[in-house]
């Protein structure tokens, strides 16, 4: 049956404007009541926001302020364009649909409000709108109608996911309730629109395709114009009540994430490798270090807590969680949120809220902070809480011994400082004290200084630098641990003590450019040391080596063992994710393998920024874990399954962890630093020519 819709002008009618009456079919008393309810809803909303802001302001001040320009750019990129949200397939799509529908309809509704207000001020008749007419109206109807579909589709997808899925995302009754409410607002919106089309005989109703189709469907049931009017009024109220209730409840439900998240994305300080320093003077006056209570977090971190929507992406990417450790970054944040909404900001969070075991499980790989669409850093909350544990003397066993040894001997192994050059025996490596005009200061690091296996990495680097005629020097016995592990374990002052010593050494030796083969040292020297007066360029050896190959100063030719088989590459977290260096090590490997016809590197399933942690970061290197309980065992299996007979790494921690792990699965797989692979290719050539 063809619905008799007023798509055409009724014969003999005056050519009216293309518009629709605002508050059509809604009597004056109902309009007044609506505005009263709207005011109440906004009041409840504002009260909720004010309450939250008051709470946030109880946090500590944060350091660097973000400029307005940056904040606006981030709002456009991360909020409006949802840049950080992609990467989770249908869930990402669902959010973008829901978000865009919500924003467009909110703007649409606001415009109607503005129109109604202006019309009221200018004393217009109900059918003579100020701007809600003509072409504008046509576009308006089409756009809002379309985005209504987006909203409903987004809600629908999320609901299906919650009813069926088993993923890590939030699915409490409150979470489902919010989605159902939003879906109901969308559906009642279309119902109201279609009934209005029937009742008010809206012109060119096809401009709202969905409304038009719904109207046709309603008419198919034989509903009359009068009845449509009555239903319209009823549903209009339902729609209005739902929408107002929704707005009022936003700050009290999971939807708070949209507001807190927006603020957080705009103002967060987001560099993955940066931790905020604590001053000794501050601790001497307060007698406390690190986060004991929620009020010890910075106000930004409290905003982060409210921004969390419990989507679970952090949990999905957390290597400690994957290894069955008692840590889920999502739970850390949500447990803190629970404490904030329950006992309050003064409650000590250690023990009952966050267990020490949870905090010590973190490898500070940064994956959680990197994948969070809302810019939350559970990792930094963890390191801040660790500081408290360290201040309380709550760390025991092998990691405590490592810190103690670092403090006494300047390296976590507790080896004598006089042995720092043992790795270079017979290599004639220049010392900075003897060659003051060096260009590069080669920072060897404790691992390569003392660990037998890692010493070979430093030997390879030194031989390559010499072969390429790079003017470099090492500090020798003047070098101390960077304090990177110590800082990430929460031992801030041990780190600061070491940083001050090393910065003074750099200054006395005139170091401008520092080369290191350890990504943890690279990040610490770059991001940690700049907070303590260290001003120098820091480069990872993969970067310098790939440059030397490119310039033809190193000429690899593959005769080595590693080049004969296939080779895969494991991205270190602190190189790929924290420092963003992913291609230079691959270039080094490709150059080393060229000539065998296997110039490409076999990629692991998780590579580059999405790499999986070996398990040694954040001080985990010093924890005594049984092999099966170690973080990174799934990574080891991934490498074993790649079928490669060599896995190249670019970090001494990865070298140790993967060697240990592979020894149990595939002892035939060689773990080698990229410098070793390159050195083999370069020096084999020399030996053969």
């Amino acid at each position: 049956m063809q619905p008799a819709l007023p798509a055409e002008l009724p014969a003999g009618a005056e050519p009216a404007q293309l518009t629709r009456e605002v508050f059509g079919n809604v009597p004056a008393w109902a309009q007044t009541l609506f505005y009263l309810l709207a005011a109440a809803a906004v009041g409840v909303f504002v009260y909720g926001i004010v309450r939250r802001v008051r709470l946030w302001r109880k946090g500590r001040p944060a350091c660097d302020a973000v400029s307005w320009r940056t904040a606006v750019r981030r709002l456009l990129r991360d909020v409006l364009l949802q840049k950080r949200l992609w990467g989770r397939g249908m869930a990402s799509l669902a959010h973008v649909l829901l978000f865009s529908g919500f924003v467009v309809l909110l703007i649409g509704t606001t415009l109607i409000g503005v129109e109604h207000f202006l019309a009221d001020v200018l004393g217009r008749e109900p059918n003579a709108p100020v701007f809600h007419k003509g072409l504008y109206f046509g576009v308006y109807e089409l756009v809002t109608d379309t985005f209504g579909v987006a909203l409903i589709a987004g809600c629908g997808m999320f609901l299906v996911r919650r009813l069926r899925g088993t993923g890590s995302f939030a699915r409490s009754p409150a979470d489902v309730g919010v989605l159902v409410a939003l879906l109901a607002i969308g559906v009642t919106g279309y119902a109201v629109e279609s009934l209005r089309i029937i009742h008010a005989e809206t012109r060119l109703a096809g401009l709202s395709p969905v409304g038009y189709l719904c109207a046709a469907a309603f008419q198919g049931t034989g509903i009359g114009r009068e009845a449509a009017g009555q239903f319209h009024f009823l549903l209009w109220w339902t729609h209005a009540a739902l929408a107002l209730g929704f707005i009022a409840l936003m700050p009290y439900t999971r939807l708070l994430h949209s507001l807190a998240g927006m603020v957080n994305l705009a103002i967060r300080d987001h560099a993955l490798g940066v931790l905020q320093p604590v001053s000794i003077a501050e601790v001497e006056t307060t007698g406390q270090i690190g986060v004991a209570r929620l009020a010890d977090f910075s106000y930004r971190q409290l905003i982060e807590l409210d921004a969390c929507v419990s989507c679970g992406r952090c949990e999905d990417s957390c290597p400690a969680f994957e290894a069955g450790k008692p840590l889920s970054p999502r739970n850390v944040v949500q447990d803190l949120v629970g404490a904030m909404n329950g006992p309050g900001l003064e409650q000590n969070v250690h023990g009952d809220v966050i267990a020490a075991e949870t905090l010590w499980s973190c490898t500070t790989c940064g994956a959680c902070a990197d994948v969070c669409p809302l810019g939350i850093s559970p990792m930094r909350m963890i390191t801040d809480m660790r500081r408290y544990l360290i201040g309380e003397g709550a760390l025991r066993g092998s990691p405590a011994v490592a810190l103690q040894k670092t403090e006494r001997a300047g390296n976590p192994w507790g080896m004598a400082a006089s042995d720092r050059l043992a790795w270079a025996a017979g290599l004639d490596v220049p010392l900075a004290s003897e060659r003051p005009d060096f260009e590069w200061l080669y920072w060897v690091g404790c691992a390569a200084a003392y660990d037998r296996r890692a010493q070979k990495v430093a030997r390879s680097v030194a031989r390559l630098l010499k072969a390429a005629n790079v003017n470099f020097a090492v500090l020798g016995t003047e070098e101390r641990c960077t304090g990177e592990s110590a800082r990430r374990m929460g031992d801030e002052f041990l780190f600061q003590q070491l940083a001050e010593q090393n910065v003074a050494t750099f200054a006395s030796r005139g170091a401008k450019k520092i080369l290191a083969h350890c990504p943890h040292c690279v990040n610490s020297l770059r991001n940690d040391y700049s907070q303590f007066g260290g001003q120098f360029e820091v480069v990872h050896h993969s970067q310098l080596l790939s440059e030397l190959v490119q310039q033809g100063r190193l000429k690899p030719a593959a005769h080595g063992k590693s080049a004969a088989g296939s080779i895969t590459y494991h991205d270190p977290c602190y190189l790929a994710r924290v420092s963003g260096v992913t291609e230079p090590p691959r270039a080094v490997l490709a150059a080393s393998a060229s000539g065998t016809g296997q110039a490409t590197v076999v990629e692991l399933p998780r590579n580059r920024r999405q790499t999986a942690c070996c398990g040694a970061g954040g001080g985990r290197m010093w924890f005594d874990d049984a092999l099966a309980q170690r973080v990174g065992q799934t990574r080891v299996r991934e490498i074993a399954a790649s079928g490669s007979d060599t896995v190249a790494v670019a970090c001494p921690f990865c070298l140790v962890m993967l060697t240990d792990g592979l020894a149990a699965h595939r002892p035939d797989v060689q773990v080698r630093d990229i410098a070793e692979v390159l050195a083999e290719a370069v020096f084999e050539r020399e030996a053969n020519s």
């Binding site: 500081r387 360290i390 003397g393 709550a394 025991r396 405590a400 810190l403 031992d491």
Partner: protein, 251 residues
């Protein structure tokens, strides 16, 4: 209940310690110092007793020696001692005289328990605790690997060459601690800073009325010489062959 924990300051065990060329002393000028590891275990145990029993327990750390001792006593405070006493003494001390000075401190402080390491890792004398118990005429239990306070008594499991011996002593008593008793916590710089407000009292050794009369005279220091040679063999057979024919370890 008051627990007194004497703590000795010793050179860091990770460092290479050598005698000076003239053999008159040990070259320790640039070597970091630590609390004697066995004393650290005693301190940890005392702090744990305090954590279990609450505010009725007071842990007092004692150090006897020169100015450098302050650092270790601050560490002791950061570990959880409530108070520290620094007996300032510039003379070289042997275990007998340390025990005599400690007796004076014990008579002043009147603790119910003296908990200390079974020996110091610098001279490995293992005498001070025993001397002190004798001087005080208190019961003693040495080499404790487990202890439990039972009202006015203390139950101690001690490690001997033949197994575990369990003793039950009345308090006050002297107990010296072995390695396996516990794993001491880490006193970070932050913890030391937080403990800065705890009292550290200075007492001049001379005011304790003890005249130091050394019973031990050090004649000479000499560094131990170790000559280790490493070689890699190709097979088990070669190893056996070398051990048999070159080293003579297998007949």
């Amino acid at each position: 209940m008051k627990i007194l924990v004497p703590t000795k300051r010793v050179p860091d065990t990770d460092q290479k310690i050598v005698a000076t060329a003239d053999g008159t002393r040990v070259a320790v000028d640039h070597i970091p110092y630590v609390i004697n590891p066995f004393d650290a275990i005693a301190l940890e145990e005392a702090v744990r007793i305090g954590e279990r029993l609450g505010e009725s327990v007071e842990v007092v750390a004692v150090g006897i020696g020169g100015e450098g001792y302050e650092q270790q006593l601050r560490t002791a405070l950061a570990t959880g001692a409530h108070r520290a006493v620094h007996v300032v003494c510039g003379q070289t001390l042997d275990p007998w005289n340390v025990a005599r000075l400690l007796r004076a401190i014990v008579e002043w402080e009147r603790p119910q328990l003296v908990l200390m390491g079974k020996q110091a890792v610098d001279d490995d004398a293992s005498q001070t605790g025993q001397f002190l118990a004798a001087l005080l005429d208190w019961p003693q239990a040495t080499f404790a690997s487990r202890l439990e306070l039972q009202g006015e008594r203390i139950r101690v499991e001690r490690e001997t060459d033949h197994g575990i011996e369990t003793l039950n002593l009345p308090l006050p008593a002297v107990v010296t601690t072995d390695l396996r008793l516990n794993e001491p916590r880490y006193a970070s710089l932050a913890a030391i800073m937080k403990a800065k407000k705890k009292p550290l009292d200075l007492i001049d050794a001379e005011k304790l009325g003890v005249t130091i009369d050394p019973r031990i005279e050090v004649l000479r220091y000499r560094s131990a010489e170790t000559q280790r040679r490493c070689e890699r063999v190709r097979s088990v057979d070669e190893l056996i062959e070398r051990l048999r024919n070159q080293v003579g370890a297998i007949v």
